[in-house]
């Protein structure tokens, strides 16, 4: 009787594991086709400029740079902060989030001078606050994601009034986020992957890569991926994923 029960239990486990594998998001490994070091200390996030011919990169040391598409510095903003962790740019402004100060800086995209400062209160750990910011053109809302403990997807209106907060549990942490072609993507440092999410924040695709300490990413105009490594102070280029 007991041995029969054991057999049944083992079979159930085997079936369950294989069923979950069938429904698990398919994995793909991304290959790096180029990388080089950049002259920016502790780069923490990157976004494509509206003109799609330059990048904005922020630094853990509270600095904002505009670079060419290879990461070579073209201009540095006079704005300084404590710990810039997230950046997004539209036609007119660059939005920079300071994780330590819990502030968002709206910076003129042409002159890189400060236009407005907005408080974004958050009571989590000092070093586990905002890590990514992006804008969803389909609903005209800004989104800020926190790193972990918990990973919170915070939705704001255009004036940065908080609309909603949703916990995300399908990654160990999130270090950057992007809306691309109306689809939400997360970068996870600890899981070394990029996640593609649907409208309900369910993971529908996952790509792994071998880049240490990935802290920021964006898509270029052709859909290729640019990833920053904070500790290596380097920029990596990956071909458009399938």
């Amino acid at each position: 009787m007991i041995s029969s029960l054991k057999c049944v239990a083992i079979c159930c486990v085997i079936i369950f594991v294989n069923i979950t594998r069938l429904f698990a998001a398919p994995k793909t490994h991304l290959k790096i086709h180029n990388k080089h070091y950049i002259n920016i200390p502790e780069p923490s996030d990157v976004c494509l400029a509206a003109n799609k011919s330059s990048l904005f990169i922020v630094s853990d040391q509270g600095l904002l740079y505009q670079t060419d598409l290879q990461g070579k510095v073209l201009k540095q903003s006079t704005l300084t902060g404590d710990d810039f962790e997230a950046v997004y740019a539209d036609d007119n402004f660059v939005y920079v989030v300071d994780e330590s100060d819990r502030k968002l800086y709206k910076v003129d995209a042409t002159t890189l001078t400060l236009s407005k400062t907005i408080d974004i209160p958050y009571k989590g750990e000092l070093n586990e606050g905002a890590e990514g910011i992006s804008y969803n053109t389909s609903n005209n809302h800004f989104y800020i994601v926190t790193e972990k403990n918990p990973i919170l997807i915070r939705e704001f209106d255009v004036n940065f009034n908080l609309i909603s907060e949703t916990k995300f549990k399908d990654a160990s942490d999130v270090s950057s986020m992007q809306f691309y072609n109306n689809q939400l993507y997360f970068l996870s440092d600890e899981d070394h992957c990029i996640l593609k999410l649907d409208d309900t924040y369910k993971v529908i695709q996952k790509w792994n890569f071998n880049i240490p300490n990935p802290e920021g990413f964006c898509f270029d105009k052709d859909g290729n991926i640019i990833i920053l490594s904070d500790e290596m102070e380097a920029i990596f280029f990956i071909n458009k994923p399938e």
Binding site: G62, S100, D101, K123, E125, L126, H192, N210, P212, E231
Partner: protein
Amino acid sequence: MKFKILNLLFIVCIVQITNAQFTFNNGENSMTISSRFSMYAQRRLILDSGQVSRKKDLMNINRLQLVLKGNRGKHIKYDATFDIAALIIKANDPQNPAILDANATYTGFKAFDVIAGWGKVPYSRQNQVSFFESAFWHRPEITGGILFSRRDAGVTLHKNLFHKLINLYGGVYTGLGEATLTNGNDPSGGVEYISRADFSYPTRYKYTEIDIYHSVVPMFSLGVNGRYAKKILPDGTNFAALSNGEFGNKVINGEKYTYGADFSFQYQGFSFQAEIHQLKNVMQDSLDANLQPIQGRILPVSFTNKTFYSGGAFVQANYHSKKLKSAFCVRYEQMNLNNFVEGEQRRLSFAYAYMLKGTKSMVKVSFYTIDSKEVIDPFGFRQEIRLGWQVIL
């Protein structure tokens, strides 16, 4: 004093109950308050013959810490960590003093950063690893604060190069180590100089033991460090109580040279650490107890040359499984307190940690067996096991 301790305990309890780290921010400045707690049960499995007391089989609070970290403006960071359990017990345990950190760092100079105050000295990689990042309930004996101090009051300059692949440290300290906190300075007026250089590849290598995040590329780090202290006591004076350590050789009346090297590697959850240290102690007095450890026998100066050596090493291997949420570790260590004393200590240790929430909540069990002992450090037992729980809020 009792009232202040109760107030502190009350604050820590509130922090734990609310299960949150507090962050305060007033625009330019920010501060975080958090707490750390650990307790274990200990049993000595095999006592030496003649030993009957079981007083060391115990359950106790190991650490109860309040951590304050903050920034003032862009260039000033501060760090204050207090251990309330150590404050109450007052054991002056070098592995767990009542004040662990009380220092400030200024990062406004381009050439280097300045760290001033009380905290860990930049010597030994293992010394930099937080107790809460380890699966073990004990450090290796060689880096445990017996032969050289782990913390001191002083000033450190720090510089990193080549995208932080190279770190350089240099500083000056009291040289009394943990005893400085309670017993002040020493009559010699001497100080200690400490320096360290480490190189990592392909990225900066943090001071951790377990590769929890499963490095996607092989990483290694190599470090070398040295210390020099010259403390010549005027006639009729002594060092502050407890400063010369358990075996009288941590702070010496003379010159002390300490050298060490360390190597660390990690990849895909597997990690490995190795360290070696050598100490050369040149004594002022040829009849110092460290040069005359054998009762009833005087070793002549022509034999001792007023110098004795001590040192040790350890190797440690760790494996972290994300699926099992567990870390498995093994360590082998050796230490010689005094080359004029018969024997050396060798110990084999095993540790297992179950990570309820990473290192923030870990159930840890560690076991060690003593392979051989030094005559002046008989231990009184052969094997010990510790089982406990740590929580970081």
